[in-house]
């Protein structure tokens, strides 16, 4: 087997040193009735070529996003990733390194984490950020738990702007960790959600997403003010992180914790994972934060260096008293984010955001002219919701048959909520004028 260096001669020699007659002897602590004599019922080993054939065949049964006019968003977005990003993250020294617990020989990882934390804090308008969570949705759950720790209260209020699957993750955690939760109904663009009225003296936090699940931008300022007046925290969720190149960051609107999905920068769609959860907050809350943190220090020669720090919050030190059970971060996805963001820089990031916004505005204008389409949004970034005269799920299916991936029917994530006629559509810099024209034409045929 190509990945196994030991030869039969090696194995014999090694068993001699150990003083065992066979490898079976080394497994003698396994209860006899649990030892498998033969092989499990699975195919035998394959060479590279055969594995490639099997997996390529599976891949060929899918419609790759890049092969068609593509307008799907709702929490994951297709953006162009510069070639140098994927090259750099595949360097052995990044790809095949462990968590940087030995800082003397992992300064590469530690320094990019420090750069990542700085970039995330900058774009969200917050003071500090951690070294990432698994993804936006689990980061959102952790943010709610952190708010409970900070406020010593146990009740969260979730806005109807929040991605339904993020809300489910929080609900799941709340149920099993015995916290209270109030979930507002879906907040459609063009309607006003009176979340402020739901903030009470026992509220630990309100969770609001902007751009919201339906694409609408949300004014966080009055919500922050109302939350703070009651001693609650505002958690702002940003699943499309490119938006912050164009819109006011939550940190400037009073958010106490900002949770983001960083996939849009540097990371591919990957059918939903791995992604990279962004988690930023205020300096005064750092000891209540979940996840790894990288900090600056000096070495024995006085040179600047970086280490994982404040680990007395973490499970490997504090065990049952830790702030979270999280161990892993999204290391390599952070690196992809950091490199892409470095390439963009101030001007590139802002321009990328403007291009996205222009692409979505153009698409909205084109689709608004299609009979049977009503665009619901007033203020949006690169995603909006339209009301159709037919069920959106059927429309999306028919569009797919015409070679256009036209968005996400609201009913896929919110079945039974009376939203069957709503279609959520995103347009990014990857879409050309021709793509958008093709979408409008196909939609007109389908409706």
């Amino acid at each position: 087997m190509r990945y196994l260096p030991l030869t039969e001669t090696d194995r014999r020699e090694m068993l001699g040193v150990i003083g065992a007659k066979s490898v079976d002897e080394l497994f003698r602590d396994v209860p006899e009735r649990a030892r498998l004599d033969g092989l499990v019922d699975l195919p035998r080993r394959k060479g590279e070529l055969d594995v490639e054939r099997v997996l390529s065949k599976m891949a060929s049964k899918n419609v790759a996003a890049g092969s068609v006019p593509f307008f799907v968003g709702a929490g994951a977005y297709r953006h162009h990733v510069p070639a140098s990003v994927d090259h750099l993250i595949q360097r052995s020294e990044f790809l095949t390194s462990y968590t940087p617990y030995q800082p003397e020989i992992t300064q590469g990882t530690l320094q990019y984490l420090f750069e990542f934390q700085t970039q995330v804090a900058m774009i969200t308008g917050m003071e500090v950020a951690n070294a990432s969570m698994y993804d936006g949705s689990t980061g959102c759950g952790e943010a709610v738990l952190m708010a409970h720790r900070v406020t010593k209260r146990k009740k969260a209020v979730l806005s109807g702007t929040l991605h339904p699957q993020y809300a489910e993750v929080v609900r799941n955690l709340s149920e099993f960790a015995d916290y209270e939760l109030e979930v507002m109904p879906a907040a459609l663009p063009g309607t006003t959600e009176d979340i402020v009225a739901h903030i009470a003296d026992d509220t630990s936090c309100v969770v609001v997403q902007t751009p919201g699940f339906f694409g609408e931008l949300v004014d966080l300022r009055p919500i922050a003010e109302a939350a703070h007046a009651k001693g609650a925290l505002l958690i702002a969720v940003v699943p499309e992180i490119v938006s912050l190149g164009a819109v006011t960051p939550p940190g400037e609107m009073g958010a106490d914790i900002v949770v983001g999905e960083g996939q849009s920068i540097g990371n591919g769609l990957n059918f939903g994972g791995p992604y990279v959860g962004l988690f930023a907050t205020r300096q005064k809350f750092i000891r209540q934060m979940p996840g790894r943190l990288c900090g600056e220090t000096v070495d024995a020669d006085g040179k600047r260096g970086f280490v994982l720090t404040l680990s007395t919050r973490e499970q490997h030190i504090r065990r049952e008293k830790a702030t979270s059970n999280i161990c892993t971060n999204s290391g390599l996805c952070c690196l992809a984010f950091t490199i892409h963001m470095s390439l963009l820089g101030e001007e590139g990031y802002k321009r990328l955001a403007r291009i996205n916004h222009a692409a979505a505005v153009d698409l909205a204008e084109r689709l608004a002219k299609v009979p049977g389409v009503e665009i619901l949004n007033q203020a949006f970034f690169n995603e909006f919701t339209m009301r159709l005269t037919k069920p959106a799920a059927e429309v999306v299916d028919a569009l797919a048959d015409k070679g256009v991936l036209g968005g996400v029917p609201a009913s896929r994530l919110l079945p039974g909520a009376g939203l069957d006629d709503l279609l959520i559509v995103a347009s990014t810099e990857i879409n050309t004028d021709e793509d958008r024209a093709a979408y409008a034409a196909a939609l007109e045929e389908v409706l």
Binding site: R33, M58, S92, Q102, E175, F271, G273, G345
Partner: protein
Amino acid sequence: MSGMNKQGRPTSIAGASSVAHETFTGNRALHLEEALLFELDNPGACGVDLDEPAPFTARLGNFERQGRIGLPSVSEPEIVRHYVRLSAKNYSIDAGLYPLGSCTMKHNPRLNEKMARLPGIGDLHPLQPVKTVQGALELMDTLAHWLKELTGMPGVALSPKAGAHGELCGMMAIRAALIARGEDEARSRVLVPESAHGTNPATAALLGYKVDAIPATKEGRVDLEAFKAKLGSDVAAIMLTNPNTCGLFERDIIDIADAVHEAGAYFYCDGANFNAIVGRVRPGDLGVDAMHINLHKTFSTPHGGGGPGAGPVVFSQALAPFAPRPYVVHGPDGFRLVETAEDAKADGTTPFGRMTAFHGQMGMFVRALAYMMSHGSDGLRQVAEDAVLNANYVLASLKDDLSAPFEGPCMHEALFDDHFLKGTGVETLDFAKAMIDEGYHPMTMYFPLVVHGALLIEPTETESKQAVDLFIATLKDLARAAKSNDKERFTGAPYLSPRRRLDETAAARSPVLRWVPPAPKQAAE
């Protein structure tokens, strides 16, 4: 020559800097100093070429961002050089043996990377119409089948994002089952051995359970009698790692499982060490009810400097009905996804909820599946055998030079304690740091907590005998040096790495977690 020992090593920190040839740049040939990204800022430069969009009427409402963010401006060649230079400051499994016990630093095949980047796999949106992702669902279904066959367990949840997330998933399923039995309130205790990973008690505590530690025997295993004495009608589950964190197989595991079930509780197994037994032992045959599998350990997906991982969970018949959404169903019309509570109701199942948005770590699924298919049933069995053989070879070769607290055979990792360093003035940490100068990443230190000054070595099956022999010889030399008063080789180590020992206390005392622009200088003139 003063300040040098007989191997020509400096004997003090001052000595170290005096032999080093001073350079103008601070670089030392291939050891290159590198500024922070933010210090490379060169306004006007940019690493991408993006055209300004044609004039249009913005629809951002009054949310247009004002002012500078502060991101630096740097060109592509400078960015590439920056990150290549940073990469050179990292140790990696591709560069050398990485014996971190419990972490399983094995070779990461590049075929897996290639497969993950096929456009028909990497470039798929999780919410595309299901009919456009039939191959992706087939891949998930195939992975699920392999995991179930290898573990002998009938249910699986693929979506957990990492090992600890898998633990959370498994324990939630246990709690859901207890709720369904009407025993949730009555069962408030979770038993966790002292030697467990920190994630186990942290997970149990997150779900509101009281964590009760089980002591270990002198043989490094669960004390069966003490464990049985702790069992009762208020126990929800036991969380047990097997092979355990001392690298030993729990001989009484079937008795433990039987006792757990007799008491009406469930058996959660931490599958971090599944690589030791894959293809040779099925956890389902041991009485396990739920077990997470770290795809980044047993199935070679890259550790990536700390992530991303993936932690699918397999379930027994008793817990399978509670496995979370989403899951894939293979029906007569192809593959479909059960995503929402409504879908599950229509499907007649009772999932406890959802762990994450979307469907889990697809990028890791494809890598793991490529690895599994490459090995096959025969190769995976060989993986376990060679991992165990390499570890026992290390244990047998070093037990007289270091000190081993427990009798062998061990499984995939060999545990030593600091008894052999007694009276030398060298501690486990110093010993580990001296390994860095010899070109090795240290083993896991001070874990598990049940032995003093633990040194946990996991060579993995992808190390050749030649590589393991040199590693053994190095550790023998270090042990000899420690015992012969060559203390400076250890207490000041590492001397030769990109950075010397870092001041972690200072880092924690006044945390600096981000770069901030230097304060503007006063106008001098």
